[in-house]
Symmetry: C2
């Protein structure tokens, strides 16, 4: 584990314990089966990054309210995240998530779709309890965006015309708006100034974009045992991410033909995959993605620089840096 991760974990240990507790308390289905399926995705080693972002965003804005209620509210971001993971794994035909078989391979598609629906509804139900219309509005908008981002991605599967702008638009919707919403909600709960609200929302969206870019990089640079899911899975699904988009655009016609063959032939061999990674390196796609992710990390950090120095501010800055150094 990296030093940075250790440092962050030691600073948020208490928050994580409370979030974990709230996630168990607020699920509240009337059928045991739903509890089983939801728990499989909820309690399989998720980082709790989204609830944590909400808590820290509230805290940096000076929030001093009822922390029990606040931890409950923070679960909406993990429940919604889990709901989309259940549906996305099914949509992607994934087999592993965090080293575990995905829910639909255990319980089948139907139960998985419906448990996703339940978690989505639960998330919105809890958001209503805040009594803050703006928070509920953010949550429903996020849900709209995420489904649209996923569909957008799906319609462009295997399509080498995908542009960098389109890629960014997709990851903004499918990943970044949720982190943005978590940070923004923290500010709203803390009744923060408009300046603080906007800063945290911008921090969140840029962090989210950096996280997704780093995730997309890991699919080419990590290995299955560390990643907890199959390396090269994105490509097997036909999901084209920035390393490929950039390299393909830069490649000469000969290498383009090789890349196109590997990308369209979804049952590529290990050697094919190694060859593709060589080409991603040759044309700078990995490097470019890393650089762009770093740019978003820096942007995220800049947005919150005006806050007074505090442990919470340091944490938010560290979390932004962590987006790029994490291994899974």
């Amino acid at each position: 584990m990296s030093d940075l991760k250790n440092k962050i974990l030691s600073m948020v240990r208490e928050d994580l314990t409370e979030i974990e507790h709230a996630l168990k308390q607020n699920l509240n289905p009337y059928l045991d089966l739903i509890s089983d399926v939801a728990s499989h995705i909820l309690f399989s080693g998720g980082k709790r990054l989204r609830p944590l972002l909400m808590i820290l965003s509230a805290r940096i804005c000076g929030y001093k309210g009822d922390m029990d209620k606040t931890y409950s509210t923070s679960t909406i971001f993990e429940y919604l995240h889990a709901a989309t993971l259940l549906h996305d794994d099914l949509v992607d035909g994934a087999t592993l998530r965090r080293g575990q078989p995905v829910a639909h391979s255990i319980w089948g598609n139907s139960i998985t779709v419906l448990t996703g629906d339940f978690l989505l509804a639960r998330s919105l139900s809890i958001s209503v309890k805040t009594g803050l219309i703006k928070v509920i509005q953010i949550m429903t908008k996020i849900t709209e965006d995420m489904s649209q981002g996923e569909i957008h991605q799906l319609t462009r599967m295997g399509n080498l015309d995908l542009t960098e702008d389109e890629y960014i638009e997709i990851i903004r919707r499918k990943t970044a708006v949720l982190m943005q919403g978590a940070c923004w909600t923290g500010a709203l709960i803390a009744d923060a100034s408009e300046k603080e609200e906007k800063a945290l929302a911008e921090y969140g969206v840029n962090l989210g974009i950096a996280f997704q870019m780093a995730d997309d990089l890991l699919d080419y640079t990590s290995d299955t045992s560390i990643l907890g899911k199959e390396v090269g899975a994105d490509l097997k699904e036909g999901k084209l991410t920035l390393p490929v988009i950039y390299s393909f655009k830069k490649a000469d016609s000969e290498d383009r033909i090789i890349m196109e063959k590997i990308i369209t032939d979804k049952i590529f061999s290990f050697n094919d995959f190694e060859l593709l990674i060589e080409l991603l390196k040759k044309y700078g796609g990995l490097e470019y993605t890393k650089r762009l992710a770093l740019k978003h990390v820096e942007k995220a950090k800049n947005f919150i620089l005006f806050f007074e120095p505090s442990a919470t501010k340091e944490l938010l800055l560290n979390i932004a840096d962590y987006a790029l150094v994490r291994e899974a």
Copy 2:
């Protein structure tokens, strides 16, 4: 078409036109594909019963507000309904809906799941615009209930232990809470008295139960061309409804064995199905279901009797009666 249906239609023509218009106006996705998939389910001859119930409930409580906004609000019940139909058809492995191939047979499971998510989110987004926390609360609770009702049903597929009470609990969640929510929301929008609010909520839930029972009857008494979906489809999925539950409980051991064989053997023949219907008649399952549905219709009507006489009241009473005479 029955006289009752004609009478109702002539009284709501203008409302239906406005609802239709609002359904087109409020969908608002950023991808054409979502529009296509959503339109396939939304504009394929649905009765618009749920939006209509909301409009009529508001009107009977004396609502005189901005009707444009009200028609927009009423779409939340059709969008949520369509979202659950998309997911349920997939869960049920259905092939036809209103005489058309189901969405997942055209666009595949992934697009269908995600368009369902989008419609669900859209529905909740529009409900937020009412600014009424209670309405949003009702909507999120309905969404929780519906997913749980569907999962409950799914876990009891083909299980002849299913009791009448459990059946009613399932149909309450999967169907009746949405009609209840539509009527209740109408009252809330009209800023109705607590008595009116409660009466319309009770009208809605009882109407919903009657509607689902009538639906379950049609699966045994209609034919495919009228129904717009395969007759006997429930049984093929292993979905046990009241006609079967009741008759099986009443049957002698010999007939029970015959019924059990047909029910568990999901690829039963036309003759098997005819034989089963004979047994449902012999043991009174069809008659009993009709009687119980009628009881709920009467209950629904009784709850709104105290309202002053008006065309709207007559309509709501007629709609309750229509639950049992409709053919599809």
